[in-house]
Amino acid sequence: MTPLATTSQKKAREEKLGSVVEGRLKTYDPGTDNAKTFVALLRKRMTRQIAASLVACVHCGRCAESCHYYLARPDDPTMTPVWKADQIRRIFKRHVDWTGRVIPWWVDAWTPVDDGDLNRLKDVVFGTCSACRRCTLNCPMGVDTALLIRFARGLLTELGIVPEGVFNVSRDQWETGNQMAVTEDDYGETLQWMREELQAEMEDPAIDIPVDKPDCDFLYVINPREIKFDPRSIANAGRIFHVAGESWTLPGNGWDMTNFGLFSGDDSLGGWVAKNVYEAASRLRAKRIVISECGHGYRSTRWEGFNWAGVDQRLPIESVVVTLDRYLKEGRIKVDKAKNPEPVTFHDSCNIARSGGITEAPRRVLSRVCADFREMVPNRTENYCCTGGGGLLSMPEYRPLRLEAAKIKAEQLRATGAKLVCTMCHNCVDGLSDVIKHYKLDMKVVQVLDLVSRGIPR
């Protein structure tokens, strides 16, 4: 069992952070009966969809071989999705379902009695599942195990029984409005830097990376990783939008479309972050929202955010890859395949393909901009997770197991013989980079914007 690390939580309480004082960010309190609260929360937050997934499982075990954790550790029966889901299901049976309340031993119903039990559950739901939903699509009974995992994560987050990284990123997003605690100055300076680079590169002082420009065709929202570590992706997007003659803007506030609420299971954080983006679009009277390349950001902003925030969708929202696909189709940008001669394969992000419905647009784009595009097998909704999903990149304590489970992904990548693996998710970029380094693969990770930008003749 990984011990519960609470140093950051203690510091946040001592510093009287607004999110902690106002009760939005929950911290661990060893003095209360957390097991009892956990059960009360489980009852209170139960939905019909979750209940259906909890009662429908027949313990057939067919999900096992769809999980990269189990495939990498076939001798460890605790790696099957059904076992992981059962750690929640047993509590449900003991307190909510019928048979388990009367004769618990008959259906192996169980209840957590202390914080140690909850900490063990934390290790299961945060540490052994990337919530990729591959098992869900392989379940004969339609059990949505990823939904159950997120549900349990949300209950533990409410009690502060979370990996320290989960607490830290949640804190940053609550406190600063973005996951990486990027300051207003950092944001402005990085955009100015990219603006100047773009102007020099295009030899056009009029080219802009606009911020807070009202009445544009679309509001472009990004991942804070782009500001911190990969600003070229913003310049690439700016260049392509300029060539396409697009009317677009970034917002000054509400620019982070990533959403740690998806990973922590905290709907209130998820709803608040998503609402910031929706309100920015409304404030600037944008006609649509375009999301840069990010798997969980796309899923959160396009699909889950409205439901978490309790607001109806008013504007169309799309991934920037869909925008690029349209530009190519309409002839608004011209590309030259010869600019991307290396063999390229495509990694489908779980949140975009299995939980988001986008599988063909990136393929159409890559087929137009790459001389040698090859599929990895399996692909689309059957693709394996990059292993960095579910927020696992922020939980270093589970890294050894994550990289062990990445064996499946490494084999899949190696078999393509590609030199570049393209993905439309910043999280996957980091996840795949870890896999490539750990398994010593001869390939690099790129994104769709990189290849399209490179494919546009200078």
């Binding site: 075990g61 071989e65 048979t99 392989n138 339609g142 939980s355 399996p378």
Partner: protein, 224 residues
């Protein structure tokens, strides 16, 4: 026909059926007591098509990797559930349309199906005991439900000829087990068929709304 068998085939079975129906109704009311989340986003696909795909997934082994990769296991699933259907049909045919089983060919077809299901039941039991991953998640209910099904198939195999002189003991066992099932099923995993439409409805609606389901043509039948 002995009075015991007559009572089991009629009054007991009807009472058990009514009990099961009442418990199922309560069970559905229980499930619908939980709130349902409202979908607030623009649809990318068709919810009805997604629901249809999810519900029929089970009949499309080529569309589900776990079935596609292990066709033998899928075949076992089909045989087992055909055996269930045949056995349930027999519980109605014997008391209410006994003439059907006067045709020997029909009896033999039922026996082949139920007999095959019996063998599959034993294989499933063996797998549950042998496979560490399945053993770890198995509960008393899982084992007992499977053993009861195997016994039910065995009794059904012997009962379908419906001849009182030679197989009354099998008929009594078959109808006693039927009555027990009807009462026990709503409280056990065997009642999973009650939840199947709902779990698939919810998943299919979400996936259909997002355009994930129905899987695109190139996704069905395996990835390239």
């Amino acid at each position: 026909m002995s009075p015991l068998l007559k009572t089991l085939e009629n009054e007991v079975q009807i009472a058990a059926l009514l009990f099961m129906a009442a418990v199922y109704a309560l069970r559905l009311a229980w499930l619908f007591r939980f709130k349902s989340r409202k979908e607030r986003t623009f649809a990318e696909g068709k919810e009805a098509a997604g629901i249809g795909h999810s519900l029929l997934n089970i009949a499309m082994p080529w569309a589900v990797e776990s079935a596609r990769k292990k066709p033998g296991v899928y075949l076992q699933f089909v045989v087992f559930h055909l055996g269930v259907a045949a056995s349930i049909a027999a519980t109605f045919i014997i008391p209410y349309a006994p003439g059907v089983f006067e045709v020997m060919a029909v009896v033999r077809i039922f026996q082949v199906i139920i007999g095959a299901a019996f063998l599959v039941g034993l294989m499933k039991l063996f797998r549950r005991l042998k496979n560490p991953a399945v053993r770890l998640i198995s509960t008393a209910d899982d084992y007992v439900s499977l053993v009861l099904m195997v016994l039910f198939f065995a009794a059904g195999f012997l009962a379908v000829p419906n001849t009182y002189r030679s197989s009354e003991a099998a008929l009594i066992a078959f109808f006693a087990l039927t009555a027990f099932f009807l009462v026990y099923v709503p409280f056990s995993k065997i009642g999973h068929y009650l939840y199947y439409p709902f779990s698939h409805f919810f998943l299919g609606r979400t996936m259909g709304h997002r355009g994930v389901y129905p899987l695109k043509r190139r996704e069905r039948g395996g990835a390239r």
